[in-house]
């Protein structure tokens, strides 16, 4: 893992900690029965949306990175004769 912390603006760590806390709370909230009703449509098992969102984005970025190999050209590609 590359350490990019030297470019971090001050206070970022604090914000990130708050962000991780919110993520954790959102997952925990899934245990609270108030958030689930019998007539809800769609999957309601624990953490589905969080896990799906995380996986989707990682897949998206990794695939997009591979896509670059296929489609990326120089900036003036279309200007060349």
């Amino acid at each position: 893992m590359k350490n990019l912390n030297h470019t971090d603006p001050p206070g970022l760590k604090k914000w990130l900690r708050l962000f991780y806390l919110i993520c954790a709370l959102l997952l925990l909230a899934d245990f609270v029965p108030v958030f689930h009703h019998a007539n809800d449509k769609g999957p309601s098992w624990w953490g589905f949306y969080g896990i799906y969102g995380f996986t989707a984005c990682v897949l998206l970025v990794v695939t997009a990175k591979l896509l670059r190999k296929l489609v990326m050209r120089s900036e003036d590609y279309y200007d060349e004769p």
Binding site: H37, M72, E75, Y78
Partner: protein, 570 residues
Amino acid sequence: MTSLSFPPFVWFYLAALVLPFVGKHARSIILIATPLLGLVLLVLQQGELSTGELTIFGQQLSLYRADKLSLLFGYVFHIAAFIFALFSLHLNEKSQHCAAMIYVGSAIGAIFSGDLISLFIFWELLALSSAYLVIARRTEAAIGSGIRYLIIQLLSGAFLLVGTLLLITNSGSNEFSAMSLFVAGEPQWSAWLILLAFGIKCGFPPFHNALTDAYPESTATGTVYISAFTTIVAVYALARAFAGAEPLIYMGAAMAIFPIFYAVIENDLRRVLSYSTINQLGFIVCGIGIGTELAINGAVAHAANNVIFKSLLMMAMGAVLFRVGTVKATDLGGLYKTMPYTTLFCVIGAAAISAFPLFSGFVSKAMILSAVLAEQQNIIWLMLLFASAGVFHHAGIKIPFFAFFSHDSGIRTQDPPRGMLIAMAIASTLCLCIGIFPHFLYELLPFSVDYTPYTSHHVLAQLQLLFFSALAFVWLKRSGIYPPEMLSTNVDVEWFYRHFTPNLWRKLNSWLSRIEDYLQVITLNKGKKFIDIMRNATTDNGWLAFKWESSSMVLLVVTLLGGMLIYNYL
């Protein structure tokens, strides 16, 4: 309402006629007053109008059909036109203002067209005026891009015309209403052609590069106009004619998915937004394809919201372009220090497009997703959910992050002129108001709504999806996996007509000229040889001109005469 009752597009065309002849102050007043006047009249008229009918060449044209569907788009277009007029007030270029007025007028005219012929006329005027707004940037790239955009738009017009003529021949009616793609198992070619025409304007692949090519090349204000109206007119047309057409479900899902990959690796932030536009259109088209009341309501509501939040993001990028001169992610960063208001508005737009609870995107996208699920289209639902996470990733995070935060690029600038800021402020307010009080929007939808977006389950699900998408971004960025922004061109379908075909043509040309050279050399050489041979044959000792001896002549004559004598005796 006797003296003022004209179809709403008339006011915009009149404004375009007057604008070239007035000074700066009068121009500003006309630009702002026209959409406001139009909106007031539209609300007062409430569908009652006597001057909307025309007969041309024996065809009945209906220029003002007002029902819930067209009125909603009518209201939204007027509000958007008002916001965009504010956004472009600083611009001191009459031709762009005129083109914009004609463009907005044509979009509104198309929305209220009750027949396919007037729709076609407005369709073509939209194409011409929007292409002008691209070319108006006057760079070589913009002119080329504008012409390519125009060709694709006119292609759509050509299909619409042929489809319309076929339909009139077959059914005798030019009415613009619901059409079936199949009747008793037989494909209706007129309907398919018209669907293709709408699809091309709506950015269906493989025609989507019209959007991604032209939007990033137009002017700071021009892009805001052309990205808001053209595709939404096409969406309206699809909702009017092809609600419930099954192919649209799959087309919509494809459109929601594939652009997000391009958006992640694209460097030009206005092109990122162009891909994002296609992605949003995908949700809408999918909803239209599902075709239930909830789905159509969701699609129409999302289209209306999309006009506002997408243009808010385009305006924010336009403001950056206006101040900094570029919107390339590689060149930007840290602008929040000097453009705080623009940053705030951009973040609101990003939250709205990502469908954060309390923002406008949430209350409309939720309807589409619920409708898809209600129809048991589970795979399509998973695809749209994937796309929703992707939207947040590329539009919600990437756009504000790389422009305004990220590393400090060292650029020190300032917020854009007041008109631009007020325009963005109004759009931001709308995004929030619709998100917090969705019933104002729901009341205007074509079908009566019994839908509650803010259930505890739904809010939690959406927050989980968004926050964990953001978590993925944070993790990928901090671990260095996230692809760095790079100066680059990413080739798409346009490669075929911008690179492959021109190159093939050039190659064919060079082959043809080589063949020509070869033939020329051969002909010259052989011709020369032939001439030499002929010349040699006719010179003194050549085989055609050598001297005959007189004895041989006598012998020949004797033989001939003798022969004839013998022949006579036989």
